[in-house]
Symmetry: C2
Subunit: 311 residues, 2 copies
């Protein structure tokens, strides 16, 4: 194993770059802007340039670099080819081939949710475990499944697409994926707000601090923490949907630990309580001991996971 590697997390606005010791220690961290103009043709050259410049700046040689791990917001196949990444304005891009050509350094590429799972498993909330399911609760729901230290990419690049498990017949409006009743529609940041609106409508006589205002997921967790009965009912429904879904996933890979991240997880341990309650109710007895933890790497999870990909 050579001494250094790069972990590059490509987002729609910024690209987070990390120079790592291959022992897992991070040496340097910086950002560049994601230039999405002209179908994003500048993105990979910009990354190659910032890597080459960092190598020079640090007085390193390419012989000392084990590899470049790179994650993007979109599906990536086993050959490192992205079929489409809307937020980067990309159609089909041969990430690995192009990066290797421009840098002369071995490259591996991965989906961003899978990278976050790998990062949290390596250095974050799941550190010390080899079998993990990561749930990222943001505007949508991302996921990543790690088995024996390896991320499951899936036959069609859809491994860990756990936001799109069907969980309810109560909805009529379609999810972004085209199906109806997805976990993402009731347990993401926007999903929790949807649940709150439904509960407010269902219980017109119940007093609540949530009534008569624009809501965010944070408002709902704050109210639940302060004993608001309606907010508690919303949190229970969130816990039921997510906990029961995680119990279903446990039948498949039987993880040691579930790690919950994303903006919604900033509400803290209270969300784990609601999820665990229903997980334990529905999980197969052999899986009930799985541990729950909050993610700890925040926005750096993808960068860490990308680096781990080449170590």
């Amino acid at each position: 194993m050579k001494k250094y590697c790069f972990g590059i997390d490509v987002g729609g606005t910024t690209i987070k770059c990390g120079l790592f010791h291959t022992d897992g220690h991070i040496l340097d961290k910086w950002e560049i802007t994601t230039r999405t103009e002209e179908n994003g043709i500048h993105i990979l050259p910009d990354i190659a340039e910032t890597i080459n410049r960092k190598i020079e700046e640090r007085g390193l040689t390419k012989n000392e670099i084990e590899g470049i791990g790179l994650d993007i917001p979109g599906p990536v196949d086993a050959e490192g080819v992205c079929s489409i990444a809307v937020n980067l304005h990309w159609g089909r891009v041969e990430i690995v081939r192009e990066m290797q050509k421009m840098t002369g350094i071995r490259t591996r590429a991965i989906n961003d949710a899978n990278a976050a799972a790998l990062g949290e498993c390596w250095k974050g909330g799941g550190a010390g475990h080899k079998n993990l399911i990561m749930v990222t609760l943001g505007t949508g729901i991302g996921g990543g499944v790690v088995v024996e230290g390896e991320v499951i990419a899936g036959a069609h690049g859809s491994g860990g697409e756990i936001g799109h498990v069907h969980v309810t017949e109560e909805l009529t409006e379609p999810c972004n994926c085209g199906n109806v009743g997805c976990l993402e529609q009731v347990a993401s940041a926007t999903g929790i707000v949807r649940l709150a609106k439904m509960e407010l409508e269902k219980r017109p006589d119940m007093q609540s601090v949530l009534r008569g205002r624009m809501l965010t997921a944070k408002d709902i967790w704050d109210a639940a923490r302060n004993g608001d009965e309606l907010a508690d009912a919303v949190a229970e429904k969130f816990g039921l949907y997510l906990g029961r879904a995680l119990a279903a996933f446990a039948c498949v890979t039987d993880p040691e630990i579930f790690v919950i991240g994303g903006g919604v997880s900033n509400a803290g341990p209270i969300i784990l309580e609601y999820v665990q309650k229903y997980y334990r109710q529905y999980a197969f007895p052999g899986c009930k001991d799985a541990v729950f933890a909050l993610a700890t790497l925040g926005n750096d999870a993808g960068m860490y996971g990308a680096a781990k990909l080449v170590i």
Copy 2:
């Protein structure tokens, strides 16, 4: 890779033994009785003896044997230790250590449902694929999940325990696992009969050949094939429960193919039609292309999978 290996499928009544070329060709197949008396202490010595005798009978030497793969009806951990196997009258048994001691041949051990999945992936209904979910519909429901050619054993030996995903709130009686509303309770051979009884009760005025008799799963599929309206309704419910559950599992590992085996699958392609219909309705778009196939190895699947374990 040496020239030969053994695949041994240990059941509660008989032990199926196979001598394989490590190129995948089976050379010999025979059975011995499972002696469960005295807490099953004769089982492993009996297997060692039949292997040693076969090696002698064929004029082979132990240097030509790559290994012994062995599957049992119970959980097996990564070190090849069984914690309990009720049908063998076993408590804790160090399968791998004991077999290696008695035979001098490298041994690996695995759960029987996982072995069946590996066998079907190697030489059966899933041949040519590396990512598969196998469902065995018998008295209960067994399962096995293969990712990149490897079976997922799980952190607690419960990988692939897909019969115990929660699928319905309609039941009140508990499953064998202690939970209520498991897939096994509505989609195994006994589960389909339960569904039929529920439908018969729910629709007292609907004529059906299923009415007023002792039922088996086969009766229900035969009636559905002959256009019996009530049997068709039962098959629809079976398809909904199983298809929707498989769609949930697809969010986790995104398989290329689902293989359906076990006694219920003897009903033939008709069961795939009902399952696929609901799978396609509920699956994440990226996973909808997964293929469905019937198992082809029958009772030999475990023996093939056990052999594959050491190849």
